[in-house]
């Protein structure tokens, strides 16, 4: 219980510190939101009136205090662009991003872990060469280009899949595959490396000598130990899911957080950027916590730490 309380306290302190850093950093970005809203035609008087309306004429410290007071009660303020509550806008978009990111990671794990295991078991043979070549291609191709290629082939030419948007399950296929490409390659390579190391260990030889079936040796003895670095990488990347699919969401017209963030940055929508950034940080911190718990479960030796 003490451990949990300590972690929560640390989390709050980190969030407070990060919120101040993010607030200052965002407001230091060059570009005036009022000018971006009003356009180049607007005279100074209109810009000044907009500053007053948006509360941007107050000192930065006062703006931060207002932000902090609201944030503590769960209110991240209103979007400078259209007056939408930031929390509501994020809540509307978040499920789309989480679903897209979550599915892509499931796909990446489903491809990466068995693929990496197979490559490790058949190291130096054709499955290994094939999978390594595939991961090289997967990691090298730009997601943006693959997305456009997939749209051209499957939506424009073959009419098998919808082009864009987030409608039924068919809308998920292309973006999930594109988003899974890079993590699948990463997980596959990590799993292969981890498994190769573990398969050389004495206890694996002992397990085989005991006459255990190869499948049991692989899944129960080798894979669990090989998963520690893989889990770390997966969890670290999971934290970025909230705002990490910017390119994919833009190309596929996906109504997720990534696109919201891009628009917010473009128009210097400070409260929106602040809200999304804090959520992302929370996601990263949460993912780190999950990683620690999973690693402790996978490798009991780490529990004491």
């Amino acid at each position: 219980m003490t451990g949990v309380a300590r972690r929560v306290t640390t989390l709050l302190v980190v969030m407070l510190f990060v919120s101040a850093v993010v607030f200052v950093a965002i407001h230091s970005l060059p570009g005036d939101p009022a000018r971006l809203m009003a356009g180049p035609q607007a005279p100074r008087s209109v810009i000044d009136a907009l500053h007053a309306r948006l509360g941007l004429d107050e000192p930065l410290s006062a703006q931060y205090v207002h932000f902090l007071k609201r944030a503590l009660s769960g209110d991240f303020g209103l979007s400078l662009r259209d007056g939408t509550p930031v929390g509501a806008a994020i809540a509307q978009r978040l499920p789309y991003s989480l679903l897209l990111g979550g599915l892509s990671y499931v796909l990446a794990i489903v491809i990466g872990v068995p693929g990496g295991t197979l490559a490790a078991v058949r190291v130096g043979q054709w499955p290994d060469h094939l999978l390594m070549a595939a991961t090289l291609v997967g990691a090298s191709l730009a997601g943006f280009w693959v997305a456009l290629l997939g749209m051209e082939i499957f939506a424009v030419r073959l009419h098998w899949l919808p082009l864009m948007g987030a409608g039924d399950w068919r809308h998920y296929i292309l973006p999930v595959m594109v988003l899974a490409l890079m993590p699948a390659a990463l997980i596959l390579r990590m799993t292969r490396t981890g498994m190769r190391d573990v398969l050389r260990q004495d206890y694996i030889r002992t397990a085989r000598a005991k006459g255990l079936p190869p499948a049991i040796v692989l899944t129960r003895h080798a894979l669990r130990n090989a998963m520690v670095p893989v889990v770390t990488v997966i969890c670290l990347n999971l934290g970025g899911l909230i705002s990490g699919a910017v390119v994919t969401e833009t190309v596929f017209d996906w109504p997720g957080i990534g696109r919201l963030l891009i628009d917010a940055v473009r128009y210097r929508d400070y409260p929106m950027i602040q809200g999304i950034t804090l959520l992302s940080i929370l996601g990263v911190l949460g993912a780190n916590l999950v990683a620690e718990i999973l690693i402790a479960w996978l490798d009991p030796r780490t529990r004491g730490n």
């Binding site: 060059p30 035609q41 607007a42 005279p43 907009l50 978009r93 749209m151 948007g165 017209d253």
Partner: protein, 512 residues
Amino acid sequence: MRRSVFLCCITAGFAMKSAAAACAAGLTVMLAEPPRSMDPADQNATATHSILAPFYESLVQQDETGSIRPGLATRWSGSVDGRVWRFTLRPHVLFHDGAPCDPEAVAASLKRLIDPKAGLAGAGVFRGLIMDVAEDGQDVVITLARPYADILHLLAMTQAAVVSPIAARGGTLGRHADGTGPFRFGDWQDGDHVRALRFDRYWGAAPSLDWINWTWSPEPSVVNMALQTGDANVVMPISPVFADLYTPGRPASAEAVVYRAPGSALFWAALNTRLPPLNDPRVRRALSLSIDRRALVAGLLHGNGQPACFAITPETPGARGCGAAAGADIDQARTLLEQAGWHKGFSITAVVQEPEEPIAEALQAMWRSIGVRLVIRRQEAGVWVQSAFAPPDEKKRSETGVIISSWSAPFVADLQIRPLYAAASAAPAGANLGFYDNPIVDAEIEAAAGTLDPIGRAALYGTIQTRLADDAPMLPLYVQDDLFGVRRDIEGVTSLPDGEIVVTQAHRRPVR
């Protein structure tokens, strides 16, 4: 109209299932960017104008030729001195919330637009010009601070559209449109769509469409694919790179047609007139003379545009054409540089956003021929705004000599010249980004704006254009055509010179 749609559905219903589906009388339009606001007075973006047009109406409206037509006002008249304008309102017009659109509502809407406390983003050209708005029976009387020849064109702009007083008081306009247009607001899902639904109590002819769905994508290739697959029935704009795919005989031409309409977006390079050697008009003219504007149109726009050598765009009364000046005159440019003492050339820096980078690269190549080296700094939108609108000392510190951008204010010469060239508009107060300061031009700008006689006004603008071309504080480059794509089963889509797409009268072709 209604009959053809009805027949369409009946025929399709008997003929084939897929055709029946096509009879759902709606339209999906894809634009390049999302709407900024549902409040017409709180935005200045062309894409937003397109989305808001079906929801709102102004006192008057302008067509694609710039002619002023009745809108919410059926007739109007101006005083002899051009300062007092009386508009007689159309009776029995309702807002989408059911409130009557009477003189009180119109006056409240315009007063809100010019109210400094409201802090509306689109108030710029109206505040300071409109002094008072009053009701008088069925009329609305607008009093101007000074005579302004183009007041009707200003009142036809989206920013001056009449909004419901109930919605304005409730503060909901930013997210929920409420006007008198033929379509009422359906919903706005961030990052996905805005939906407009037919307003059944509209005063005018009912549109044939039941709904309009607005979507957007910043990626030109996605816009092109959406037109081909039918995910969008109408797209605006379609990149010149993809326009050729729809030429007759090519596969995509079976699906859609690309229309070309004269645009009004004038692209230019503003020169910092306070930074040596650009403070010398001979150097600025040399830079202008070394630009091959025809090559820019051919290379960057694939021919979809026209060269621009003067400050006013072609559709505007009094505009001057390029003629032979569209090509480069390198010898003359070198002579001018020699006279100015810069025959060995010099180096200057340009700040651009990503879309304008190809222009900068083309200028870099052209200016190299007269010994001028152009350093290009590509900047993100917010950073660019900071650089472009920086005051003289900051621009001097950062050695910003050239700013490349575009400007659109169709039909209104004053809005094409005053914000860019008047001394009072010098950055950071306005968009005179090169700090051009010429009292003679300032006086002529004022005189032209207040001259009600069209011939006299055109003559004044002719003089201003010549003077600006000689001083060359900004180098007009070209005017880009608007390209928009329409699926073959859709008719009645048009565009306005400011790049706004008009779909309220669109309909599907009857199935034969």
